[in-house]
């Protein structure tokens, strides 16, 4: 596969766009016509050639632009990448995981040579050629988490496991759906999930934590999560809410198809070998409503999901103010026909 990387922005003039191929491979998150929180976890094994589930760390046409956007955000606010002192080893584990996976899955783009602890990493899309000593931070321009995080799409949280719980003790987070790494650093699984409605009462977090603390090395898992974002903006952080908040109120019936995006997170879970930490990649995919409805099944189904979604979820996900305009728009693409099972286009 040869990839052409888009020249595009995720702020300001928002020139982000999906090619026809990117639309077809979009991870539409609904496998039925309604949605409620559940423990929707499945093995993260290669699925469907060409889909975002084919490789462990999906690299797509947005790769270079996303890494440029991350660099802007980090320069603006270095607290988006933090690591408590005991997480350094997990950072190296994570760097190794990404370098090994990417060089195996995309040999045309990434190469890793290892001679003992003397490593040579080549990242062609970003023009990086780095020799360094594994586990020696002084041989990299920054810590291992930040180094590889600047070359990997998606946010990443490193979770320390102790006392039967997971602790968010490190992360690189510049494309989050409105939560703050700086505020959450040091929290456990139940604390950082505290603001989520309904799921605690449904016992979802108890069961999810049980599953996660048992994830084995070499057997990663994944799930999809979703929300709604006005404009293709990666940095919807609480830190900058006063800057992007006004954009949320610019939706009109005329522009909703172009300006309103479905934001899907492909989340995965890997056990790391030396630190026994978990790494939690949160990969963000954005699609405008007008692109989404080019797949008839998705247009029909998304209309039904949003029409029937409990108010609390719309409120929590932050699109309650625009919900009726979104549902009215999508209704035009729902002819009432049956939809097939599963998330993929017909």
């Amino acid at each position: 596969m040869t990839l052409r990387f888009n020249d595009e922005t995720f702020r300001g003039d928002y020139t982000y766009h999906n090619s026809a191929a990117a639309v077809r491979r979009f991870p539409f998150p609904f496998d039925q016509d309604s949605y409620m929180y559940s423990v929707n976890i499945e093995p993260h094994r290669p699925t469907r050639a060409g889909s975002v589930f084919e490789h462990r760390f999906d690299v797509d046409e947005h790769y270079v632009a996303e890494m440029q956007d991350r660099a802007i955000t980090l320069a603006d606010d270095p607290l988006r990448c933090q690591s408590l002192p005991h997480m350094e080893l997990a950072g190296w584990d994570f760097l190794e995981l990404v370098m090994v996976c990417k060089s195996e899955d995309y040999p045309d783009m990434f190469t890793l040579h290892r001679d003992g602890d003397r490593w040579h990493w080549i990242n062609r899309p970003l023009g990086i050629d780095q020799r360094f000593t594994f586990m020696d931070t002084s041989t990299l321009p920054c810590g291992p988490l930040e180094y590889i995080g600047r070359q990997t799409q998606g946010d990443h949280a490193l979770l320390d496991q102790r006392e039967g719980n997971l602790w968010m003790d490190a992360g690189i987070v510049t494309s989050q759906a409105d939560w703050s790494l700086d505020f959450n650093i040091g929290m456990n699984f139940f604390e950082w999930h505290a603001p989520v409605p309904k799921a605690h009462e449904l016992g979802i977090f108890q069961r999810a934590l049980k599953f996660l603390t048992n994830v084995q090395q070499g057997k990663p898992s994944r799930r999809l999560n979703w929300t709604m974002t006005v404009n293709p903006r990666l940095d919807t952080s609480p830190e900058n809410y006063h800057k992007w908040g006004p954009e949320k109120r610019t939706i009109t019936p005329e522009n909703v198809g172009a300006k309103q995006y479905l934001r899907v997170e492909l989340q995965s879970f890997y056990r790391l070998p030396r630190s026994n930490a978990l790494v939690f990649p949160i990969r963000c995919y954005l699609i405008s409503l007008e692109d989404l409805v080019t797949v008839p099944k998705w247009g029909r189904r998304f209309h039904r999901v949003l029409r029937d979604l409990p108010d609390e979820l719309a409120e929590y996900k932050g699109f309650a103010v625009n919900r009726s305009m979104i549902v009215d728009y999508l209704a035009r693409f729902d002819d009432g026909a049956e939809t097939s099972a599963g998330i993929f286009p017909d």
């Binding site: 607290l79 505020f183 609480p238 006063h242 006004p246 109120r249 103010v321």
Partner: protein
């Protein structure tokens, strides 16, 4: 009832269960204002707790100093404010052995900060016992500028650092010892709801 009764809230919001004696072990006790009453009740229930206790007291306008001293702690210190007693507290936490108990009683801001200091010094969460006394004022971190505003009694309130109007969340960081404040008119600049008094 030991301390203030709070409205049930989300899981990150701390719960102050009341001071419970851990017996005759070494102990650091920090009492602010009416929190002194909690130490008195603790000693009344189990006089053995005072034998190895280091009491740090911030009167905050109350007059319980003499009564606390009369409990017979191993060490007693009075200071005017939390920042003033922090160096002493940090020294005590740094010197503490495994198994040292920490008792904190007072307002939410003081409990939050002292807990954060203790966790950073390596004290196990299970060794910390807390009891709330005093008003419902909160210690708030502005998620935008990161500045902390102490003693917030209204929702929304104005960040004392950047001047944004912030709404008061229940989301709480034990590491920072603070609740999160988020711009209340982010989507509709200038439209700020009327301030309401914060209730427990």
């Amino acid at each position: 009832m030991a301390g203030t009764a709070f409205t049930p809230s989300i899981l990150s919001r701390p719960v102050y269960a009341g001071l419970v004696s851990r017996g005759a072990t070494p102990a650091i006790m920090l009492a602010e204002g009416e929190g002194a009453l909690a130490l008195m009740a603790l000693a009344d229930h189990d006089p053995a707790v005072m034998g190895h206790a280091h009491i740090i007291h911030i009167p905050a306008g109350t007059g319980h100093g003499a009564a606390l001293q009369a409990l017979g702690p191993a060490m007693y210190h009075e200071g005017p404010t939390l920042p003033a007693v922090l160096p002493r507290l940090r020294k005590a936490l740094g010197d503490a052995h495994m198994g040292t108990a920490l008792y904190i009683a007072g307002t939410e801001g003081v409990i939050g900060q002292v807990t954060a200091e203790a966790l950073a010094a390596g004290v196990a969460a299970g060794a910390i016992s807390t009891e709330h006394h005093g008003g419902a004022a909160r210690r708030m971190q502005c998620v935008h500028c990161k500045g902390i505003t102490e003693d917030v009694v209204t929702d929304p309130f104005i960040c004392s650092h950047c001047g944004l109007s912030l709404f008061v969340r229940d989301h709480f960081s034990r590491r920072l010892g603070a609740f999160q404040g988020v711009c209340v008119d982010a989507e509709t600049p200038g439209q700020i709801p009327a301030m309401q008094e914060i209730r427990p």
